[in-house]
């Protein structure tokens, strides 16, 4: 019986990385080792591999290409995805955004400030922007400029790609994205480029989450999904401490589906809504 998660050693990761580079020309980054390990677990279990080396050999010798295709899918989805995990996005679109619109309409607020922290190659902030645009367009008195979306990442490469808003066919295969493709993307050959009106909604900036956040505004919503997985315990504690300070008293924090805050912070309270969860600042009784 296999463990629910097969871990992958550094050596095995390098072996796999070389293989993937040779076979598919894809360059895996060092930081992806944890994600790769957990992502491949399903494939490893399905192929009845007892350890990673076994799996690797099966993949190399796979004449049907089924395993190889599975690997490609897994690897290309390691990068941030559109509307990742779907449910939180449905919740954001169907509950959170309408609430904000209501607040704006009734002048209970002037604007909404959203942060995509660890935005990687841009899929997350663009997902936010598309949903905002879709919602706002139904409201004649509300302007999308009332939504300020900040997207930060530490990688120049990711920031370049995010700024350019250009994506290959392979990275556009998300289910929820289907409904938004023709509306928000221009296609040239096999490349999709997000429309300018959506690009303009986002402010991209280089930012290291380990740094001081004093100069950042207070946010109504923070997306910090699957970023902290790479951090050490210490770093995670500090990160959530800082995020707590940056979140509005009524604000919401979204983290990754498989992540948990409990071991790192007492500042937040977890809420669940239809298979998605989010966090709010824990209210202190005086």
């Amino acid at each position: 019986m296999l463990d629910s998660q097969i871990s992958i050693s550094l050596e095995e990761f390098f072996l796999f990385r070389n293989y993937v580079h040779q076979e598919y020309g894809i360059a895996l980054k060092d930081e992806e080792i944890t994600q790769i390990g957990s992502r491949l677990t399903r494939l490893m279990l399905e192929s009845k591999s007892t350890n990673f080396k076994d799996f690797y050999l099966k993949a190399k010798n796979d004449a049907t290409n089924k395993l190889k295709d599975g690997i490609i899918d897994t690897i290309t989805s390691v990068e941030t995805d559109w509307f990742r995990d779907t449910n939180p996005w449905l919740f954001f679109r169907d509950k959170i955004l309408p609430n904000f619109i209501d607040d704006l309409r009734n002048k209970r607020r002037e604007n909404v400030v959203i942060w995509s922290a660890g935005a990687s190659t841009g899929q997350e902030p663009y997902s936010i922007a598309m949903l905002v645009d879709e919602t706002v367009k139904k409201e004649p008195k509300i302007n999308s400029k009332q939504f300020f979306i900040l997207a930060t990442d530490i990688s120049p490469s990711s920031l370049y790609i995010a700024n350019s808003g250009r994506y290959s066919e392979i990275s556009m295969k998300n289910e929820m994205l289907k409904a938004y493709k023709s509306k928000y993307f221009e296609k040239t050959d096999k490349i999709y480029e997000i429309k300018n009106e959506i690009k303009k909604m986002i402010y991209f900036m280089k930012f290291n989450l380990l740094n001081n956040m004093d100069d950042l505004p207070t946010f109504d919503v923070i997306f910090c999904r699957n970023v902290a997985t790479h951090f050490s315990l210490d770093m995670k504690i500090k990160l959530y401490e800082k995020l707590a300070e940056k979140l509005d008293s009524k604000g919401m924090l979204f983290i990754g589906k498989d992540e948990s805050l409990n071991s790192y912070s007492n500042d937040f309270e977890r809420f669940e809504y239809q298979e998605s969860s989010f966090y709010r600042l824990r209210k202190i009784d005086v």
């Binding site: 370049y160 290959s168 900036m205």
Partner: protein, 283 residues
């Protein structure tokens, strides 16, 4: 493996293309302290077609400003020795190879744009350093592709198609199928033709800039410029769309992420300049 066959044939290519003789001599002259405008003019005039093209390019918006350039003499004086030398060399290559399977226009738009972007990146970096070889290195970085296409058309056609169909890195497929990459082939032949070391260095290492010995900064500029051109949708004909570049190479160049929006805007300019260059100086 085809590697031995390719190396043997490259070894046997003796004749320096005519235009290249002129261009390399211009290049040598430009470095000579005793040179003169007349000497360079005299050289280029040896080939009327080359002269005409140099003049046309010199008169393009990129180089001439508002006053029309009426003669080669004027072009050399107005643009300067270095610029004329670069333009002459670039035009030479535009007119030297007869593509068999490669889309000539697509290839050269990619290459020339990369050259212009590499120059722009240098300007936008926080330590703008003299990057003499970057324009030429940028334009010629994929020359191995044309060489392989010209001399090994049938074999190379298959390699090129595989890379395009599967959106894979061309160099990887070449390594697997041919045993040698376009980077190596380009460097070998151009070295044989006695192009400057810095240029062949850039060509050899444009996928692995840290391996560059004599022109590391220039090679890194070309590496990023190549990515940018590909990202914009102008690849060298393979249809390869890149999804990542190495962050440390960006950082080594002292490029700020704040200039990213500016770069993305400027790419349109560079593309226009490349199209113009090709139209005026090409076949």
């Amino acid at each position: 493996m085809f590697k031995k066959k390719i190396l043997d044939k490259l070894e046997r290519i003796d004749d320096l293309p005519t235009l290249l003789t002129i261009a390399l001599e211009v290049e040598r002259l430009v470095k000579d302290p005793n040179t003169s405008v007349e000497k360079i003019e005299y050289l280029i005039k040896n080939d009327p077609s080359l002269t005409a093209k140099v003049l046309k390019v010199a008169n393009s918006a990129t180089y001439s400003g508002t006053k029309r350039i009426m003669s080669l003499h004027q072009a050399i004086t107005r643009l300067g020795f270095d610029e004329i030398s670069k333009i002459t060399l670039a035009i030479t290559f535009l007119n030297t190879f007869k593509p068999k399977n490669i889309d000539y226009e697509q290839y050269w738009i990619h290459s020339i744009t990369t050259g212009y972007i590499a120059v722009k990146l240098n300007q936008l970096s926080d330590d703008e350093i003299d990057a003499d070889s970057v324009f030429t290195g940028g334009i010629l970085h994929d020359i191995g592709v044309l060489i392989l296409d010209q001399y090994f058309g049938d074999i190379y056609k298959k390699v090129f198609e595989i890379a395009g169909n599967k959106n894979l890195d061309l160099a990887l497929i070449e390594q697997n199928v041919l045993g040698i990459t376009h980077a190596e082939v380009g460097a070998i032949l151009l070295q044989k033709w006695k192009l400057p070391l810095q240029i062949t260095d850039i060509i050899l290492n444009h996928h692995n800039p840290k391996n560059s010995i004599s022109a590391q900064r220039d090679t890194k500029l070309v590496y990023i410029a190549n990515f940018i051109t590909n990202n914009r949708g102008y690849d060298n004909g393979t249809g390869f769309f890149p999804v990542h570049f190495y962050d440390d190479i960006w950082e080594d160049l002292n490029l700020s992420t704040n200039v990213i929006p500016k770069i993305i805007d400027e790419v349109e300019n560079e593309l226009e300049q490349a199209r113009s260059f090709l139209r005026l100086g090409g076949r």
